[in-house]
Amino acid sequence: MNKPQLSLAVDFSDEQAMLLDTATEFFRDKSPITYVREQLTTEIGFEQSLWREMVALGWLGLAVPESYGGSGLGLAEAVTLAEPIGRCLFNSPFQSCQMAVQALLAGGNEQQRGRWLPRLAEGSIASVAVIERAGDWSLLRPECNGIREGERIVLSGVKTFAVDARVAELIIVSIDFEGAPALVLLENAVLPEGALTREVVIDETRRSFRLDLDGIEVIDTDLILSHAALAALTAIRDTALLLITAEACGGTAGVLDIVVAYLNTRTQFGRKIGGYQALKHPTVDILIGLERARSHLYHAASVLGDTQHAEVALRMAKAHGSDAFAYAGDRAIQFHGAFGFTYECDAQLFLRRALWCQYQFGDALHHRKHLAGLLF
């Protein structure tokens, strides 16, 4: 008998509860749907003054240790922000910055941490560039590379999905270096003209960039190598899985609100359409998807540091959470009827973000494949 023993822990501190309340209110106030729509066409996709408010609240230093100027909490606290962010379709470099912080904590040396973490805690922006044009979710096979030429290392290749790279001071880039994955801490300031080009992405609230590395030169102190690089890549993946799932849970709750409101107002054939079981029952399925997803999410946040359970919990949470969000978005369009087919209907904003969430850092099928290997 080899029954998989899964942890059932769901821990949630008073501090997390307080953060969740504050953040829920903050993003509801600051990111109403009118704000979200205004930002669709702006250059950077968010209001700088809002970012400064988030910084002032200490949210960017939440997971940064106190010795580097942060508040010494962790990713489990970041989840309580990411969920309301998703609910209000807010866009900001929050997620990218959290990935960078965790990468530095897991793989950066003392000098690298000391240089970047205090700045990130104060609101400097970072981005990670770990995906390439083939779209493979495996982070361990970068084809971009670095060739040593004396003191310098010359980079080549193209990275994709460098989210918020335009406004980032730091871009953490994965490359192949001397036959193994490595990370480069690349300063935006050294990028040649035209290295970053905006991608056209399905979620129009996002700002994502293609990064052309050809000819860019870095030096040894910019690199994270071997075991440290693997640890940093794992940290990036885990952070992404957790925060994307949080965002998906928030998004599911947000689009469920829209569906319920519409089903309670729209009248057809002389009655509110929410009375029809053909619409009511799938709406309950959305709710059930959300309840399970939130349970997976806060469980994953509870076992982050536990090597026995964390990977299973994170992959399960992402697999279930992003599909639940996509289902909710898909049904939301359908239930709005002809209006749902228009750009004006807000359901499309949620569906398009759901698709983004699904295809960032592995969809459900991908994670289930890895889970099978972990579980049996």
């Binding site: 029954k3 899964l6 319920v260 929410g274 009511k280 709406t283 309950v284 709710l287 939130r294 579980l375």
Partner: protein, 397 residues
């Protein structure tokens, strides 16, 4: 080793030593499925043995036959029974619903009269709530109870009575006042004897071919007026508190395993032994993916239980997890059984009694029996309406 660990070791030793030998028939998986005398006697003897060893009703008061100990001891026994997969306690309605109800609101006489024999399985209990014309609409019960001197005269019929053929008592919901201001106010609650003239029990054959339920007919059946629980008109309220015991929400149950616990892990085991193209099914990527999907869903439900204990994570829709629990759990079980059959290849078409049936055909039987939970106690469709209306605030249809 602390005291609880020692106790656990003692329990494990006793259960291992005393578990009854495998019978030569397929055992039922819950009290609702007890369909033959041999199954019933086997299970009743086992419950009696467990009680006599002191492992049942451990936290119930000593003066009524319980153990007078802390709940934690009973919880250990129940958990070990599940882990060691020993047969379940068949007097479920008595142990988990009627018993705790009597202990909570019953009179001293009722406690003295009923509790110990519930534990020993000497007296089996059944439930008379549903009626042929009032399945999900319990409040509309039409079975009549008319006071006549120091008796009530009962007329009407109850249906889907599990253990009806073996029960000595029934918790009975009947209408004492047809002129009450609303349908709920006319109901009363009885601890009714089954062995009186005018009570007739007719077994119902299930889709499995077995007999697991009965229909109970009352034709001028006279029961003592002292069988009334509380006062006339309190029936609905008492029935609702019975349901909180039934759902396990109130605690206070006698404990002991009440059904065979089946999970995805059991189906994973099945997949290790089933064959596909000369390989164990567990190596087939499609089957692996299906198993992981089931695991994610099952784990999601278990984690919902964990999360429901964290108020701050349930504040927006506090009733959501509890109200959707039956819908989630029973539908998952039904689909899991379907999948377990599909793993058996050609043998999926065998049935209980065939010598080559996988695990005696228990998955096939489980699948057909799974409908008792997706239909009984409010069908999944009614459950979805309840969740949609009460949790999401959607309009009634």
């Amino acid at each position: 080793m602390n005291e609880l660990d020692e106790f656990r070791a003692e329990v494990v030793a006793w259960l291992t030593e005393n578990r009854p030998p495998e019978p030569d028939f397929l055992l039922p998986e819950s009290f609702m499925e007890v369909g033959s005398d041999s199954q019933f006697h086997y299970l009743r003897d086992w419950q009696q043995q467990v009680y006599e060893a002191g492992y049942l009703g451990m936290a119930w008061p000593k003066e009524y036959g319980g153990g007078g100990r802390e709940q934690v001891y009973q919880d250990i026994v129940t958990a070990e029974m599940a882990r060691l997969n020993v047969p379940f306690m068949t007097n479920t309605i008595g142990l988990n619903w009627a018993g705790p109800l009597i202990l909570a609101i019953g009179t001293e006489d009722e406690k003295q009269r009923y509790i110990q024999k519930i534990l020993s399985a000497e007296e089996i209990w059944c439930q008379g709530f549903s009626e042929p014309d009032n399945g999900s609409d319990l409040g509309n019960a039409q079975t009549k109870a008319v006071r006549d001197g120091d008796e009530y005269v009962i007329n009407g019929s109850k249906i889907w009575t599990s253990l009806g053929s073996y029960a000595k008592h029934m918790i009975l919901l009947a209408r004492t006042d047809f002129a009450a201001e609303n349908k709920y106010a006319g109901l009363s609650y009885f601890l009714a004897p089954m062995d009186v003239p005018g009570v007739r029990v007719q077994p119902i054959q299930k889709l499995t071919g077995e007999y697991g339920f009965t229909q109970t007919f009352f034709e001028d059946a006279r029961i003592p007026a002292s069988c009334l629980m509380g006062t006339e008109g309190q029936g609905w309220q008492i029935a609702m508190s019975t349901l909180t015991f039934e759902r396990g929400a109130a605690g206070g149950q006698a404990g002991g395993l009440s059904m065979v616990v089946v999970g995805v892990a059991d189906v994973v085991e099945l997949a290790r032994h089933a064959m596909r193209d000369g390989q164990p099914a567990i190596e087939d990527p499609h089957i692996r993916d299906e198993l992981v999907k089931f695991l994610i869903e099952e784990q999601g439900d278990r984690l919902c239980e964990s999360r429901s204990r964290v108020t701050a994570l349930c504040s927006e829709r506090p009733g959501s997890i509890a109200l959707s629990g039956k819908l989630r759990g029973t539908e998952l079980r039904r689909r899991l059984c379907q999948f377990a059959i599909s793993l058996q290849g050609a043998n999926g078409a065998l049935w209980v009694g065939d010598r080559d049936a996988v695990a005696g055909g228990k998955w096939q039987r489980s699948y057909l029996n799974a409908f008792s939970a997706t239909i009984g106690g409010g069908t999944s469709q009614v459950q979805a309406n309840i969740v949609g209306e009460r949790v999401l605030g959607l309009p009634k249809g």
